[in-house]
């Protein structure tokens, strides 16, 4: 007997229509890939479990609220959510360093090495080059103001004198430049983080 394999897209569509079993099939089909991806980043079983759970809570809510668009494939979409949650976790942990209660005093709990290591430096360079490429896509007038302000460190007064527009126009262009950058970043799910 030939076994029909239902595609992810079909399962997602069935789930949105109310078939709960479709979700179960999707989770069982992809759980290993997603979980081991998370585990490979955090190396902690409980934490991986939490992030896996949060990932699917987000998936379930997005699907039920009808916010899922069929543009991409299901698995890469879920992986991206998981990836972003892992980043959120590390970001949160950097801001709030944990103190372990092992009783022993560790000098490293109060001293931090703020210099970037090789990996972080590479990521930083990559993020900066990505941002540069995104800026290149902006309309000329917005790009000009943004480059002068952020890279040349000019004041808005100087920018207005140089470009021959009022300060308010320069401020407006800067604002739209940032809005447009955010839009592109959101639309393409670009992760700009270190």
């Amino acid at each position: 007997m030939r076994q029909e394999i239902i595609t992810d897209a079909q399962l997602v569509s069935n789930y949105i229509k109310g078939e709960e079993k479709a979700l179960s099939t999707l989770i069982y089909r992809h759980k290993q890939k997603i979980y081991s991806f998370i585990y490979s980043k955090v190396f902690d079983r409980d934490l991986a479990e939490d992030i896996f759970q949060d990932t699917f809570i987000k998936v379930i809510r997005t699907l039920k609220l009808g916010k899922y668009n069929e543009e991409g494939k299901f698995l890469p979409w879920v992986m991206r959510i998981a990836h972003n949650l892992v980043i959120d976790h590390f970001r949160k942990n950097n801001r709030m360093p944990k103190f372990d209660n092992s009783g022993e005093f560790s000098i490293f709990s109060v001293l931090g090495d703020t210099a970037l290591n090789a990996e972080k430096q590479i990521i930083k360079d990559q993020v900066e080059s990505d941002v540069r490429r995104l800026i290149e896509e902006l309309p000329e007038d917005q790009k000009q103001v943004l480059v002068m302000r952020m890279y040349n460190d000019m004041s808005f007064k100087e920018i207005s004198e140089r470009t021959g527009v009022s300060i308010n126009t320069a401020l407006g262009r800067m604002r739209y430049a940032l809005i447009n950058l955010r839009k592109v970043v959101d639309k393409h799910n670009i992760v700009l983080t270190n």
């Binding site: 979700l23 290993q32 379930i60 039920k64």
Partner: protein, 47 residues
Amino acid sequence: MAKLYIKGSQDVDNQNPREETVKFLLNYSKALSVIDYKKMKFEALLN
């Protein structure tokens, strides 16, 4: 005797989430209902 520097295959446990987690998600999905009201969507958890 020569030492073996090969690690055993990764623990299978580390590659799959616990069954309870999956069950929780399936129950969460069943309990979550979205109510449409005049172009607005409300979420309700009905346990």
